[in-house]
Amino acid sequence: MRVALEAVTKVYDGDVRALDELSLEIADGEFFVLLGPSGCGKTTLLRTIAGLETATSGTVRIGERDVTRLPPGDRDVAMVFQDYALFPHMTVADNIAYPLRLKKVPRAERRAKAADTAARLSLGPYLDHRPAQLSGGQQQRVALARAMATRPTVFLLDEPLSNLDARLRLEARTFLKKLQHDLGVTTVFVTHDQAEALALADRIAVMEDGRVRQIGTPREVFQRPANIFVAGFIGSTPMNLLEGECVPGDGDPTGSWTDEIDVAGLRLPVPEEATGLVGPGDKIIAGFRPEYVREAEDGIEGRVEIVENLGTTSLVTLATTGPSVQLTVPEEREPAIGTTLRVAPQPGRTLLYHADDGDLIDDS
């Protein structure tokens, strides 16, 4: 079911603004990820949808229903908590069936439903176990099963993968994506892990200080971050963000000239989508990902300071006269520490941001 938030504000203790006039719409069946650093308000937003927090102002709708003032139990949503919140004194079956028990579903029926859901999540053999007897991954699936068993209209997941170790987290991620696809339930997923967000989401909302800084598909958010905050947050290696200025080009023999940008002494053409939007003298920030940096004779000069092995590639940090620049190089092509390199972004891979407000300069 569709979830819509209209100008939702949440103020704690009179002055802490956790959510600031936030509006967004989540489509029916969508896997929607709320991404941001800790304290950005993503969990508060999720809890406001759940009804565990009440919005100070604004409206929360699930489907066509205004649920802003409805208690959590009446919203028809289910939530999986970071610590799973399983009841330690109940068996797996009783945990899964607990919401059904409150809904006065007869014992035999809820037992059958619990067994059914458990089997689907490969928990069949553990129905009579206590949560403490299960591994972290199994506990997480019990929490999922408990959320699924009531067939809610919206799934709310609060960093459900963060308590798993790295390898299990990847498995659980794949599993979760498939499960959500099969069930087709609208899902809101909170995480601070951008890789998790990119991997799972149909759409991502990147949040900072109680506001949404960008909403888009993983591709949009990755390729065209709408501001330097998102640019710096998304991507497993952070984007190079270098201050520069728009300057008149050298011109050509016909006498016409085009603007260029000057970044750390390097001349780059103004990206197509920013043409006409910047003029000589404008302060800009040029952003390009380390993955899109190559060696170039007329590039920015820097000394190799650090080389970090990322597996199939290595991340090289260059010390320049200005801020340092990072690039990735293929495995076994790592430069030696202390050597000098000249590098430049690949053509067409540079994004321009306004130096004052940090917003992307483009024609959209």
Binding site: G73, M79, F81, D83, Y98
Partner: protein, 265 residues
């Protein structure tokens, strides 16, 4: 030295017919287990034990436990100053010296000029005389609730919030959250609390400061009964035997407690 010697002395006394006065005071005879046999068959002793059990059940197991939990539960979401005020008041009842609270309660429930009679407009009603055990139970509940309240406050703050919220999302009402999440999570604390306050109440001597066992022993719980038997009564040997019996009951309770704790762990 100060613990073992008196205990051994009591053990020895329990085996004699030692008295404060008379022939048996000068030459106490070893009477073996006669004192114990007599103690078990004595109607007064059984009555005192019955009153003690009523006292423990009414004021500790029900009174302090329930009131302590209710206070802790309702103070969870109270404003800071309300919480501080109530906690201070409850703690005060606990830390004031026994002599002071004894006088407070004598004055409170006095037949002539007592505070309760003034409030209820029932002058001349002698609560301590007419309902000695009932009044003692109310008194001890008031006196000892602080410990339960503090223990349950700590326990409640340890109940994982996510479990409570999980229950709320599933549609659990207040009492269902209590039944399905809170009580199961603090079962160990309830057990610890019940045993500790039972032991303390079982051994409590403060009732003597208020009623001295009056009227006619109707408020003489076991410690008071033993005291009355030993000193005004002068039957030291018999009282020693009773003391040892009490010690054994304490020991049994403590053992049961340790066993249950071990089994849980």
């Amino acid at each position: 030295m100060f613990l073992i010697l008196p205990a051994l002395w009591t053990l020895y006394l329990g085996l004699t017919d030692y008295r404060l006065t008379g022939a048996a005071a000068a030459h106490p005879r070893i009477v073996g287990v006669d004192d114990y046999r007599q103690a078990l068959g004595d109607k007064d002793v059984r009555d005192a034990l019955g009153r003690t059990l009523l006292f423990v059940f009414g004021s500790a197991i029900v009174g302090q436990n329930l009131l302590g939990f209710l206070l802790a539960w309702s103070l969870r979401s109270a404003r800071a100053w309300v919480r501080a005020a109530v906690e201070t008041a409850v703690l005060l009842a606990w830390i004031l010296p026994g002599v002071v609270v004894a006088w407070l309660w004598i004055a409170f429930l006095k037949d002539q000029g007592g505070t309760l009679n003034a409030i209820l407009r029932t002058p001349g009603h002698d609560w301590w005389f007419e309902h000695p055990m009932g009044a003692l139970i109310v008194f001890n509940t008031w006196r000892g609730t602080a410990f339960s309240m503090m223990l349950f406050s700590a326990a409640l703050s340890n109940v994982p919030r996510s479990q409570l919220e999980s229950a709320r999302l599933a549609g659990a009402r207040g009492w269902q959250q209590l039944r399905d999440v809170v009580l199961p999570n603090i079962r160990g604390h309830i057990l610890t609390n019940t045993l500790l306050i039972s032991l303390w109440t079982f051994n409590d001597f403060t009732p003597y400061l208020i009623t001295k066992g009056e009227p006619h022993g109707a408020s003489a719980v076991l410690p008071v009964y033993i005291y009355l038997t030993a000193l005004p009564g002068g039957r030291l040997g018999f009282a020693g035997a009773l003391s040892l019996t009490m010690l054994l009951i304490n020991l049994l309770l403590a053992l049961a407690y340790v066993r249950i704790l071990r089994r849980r762990a």
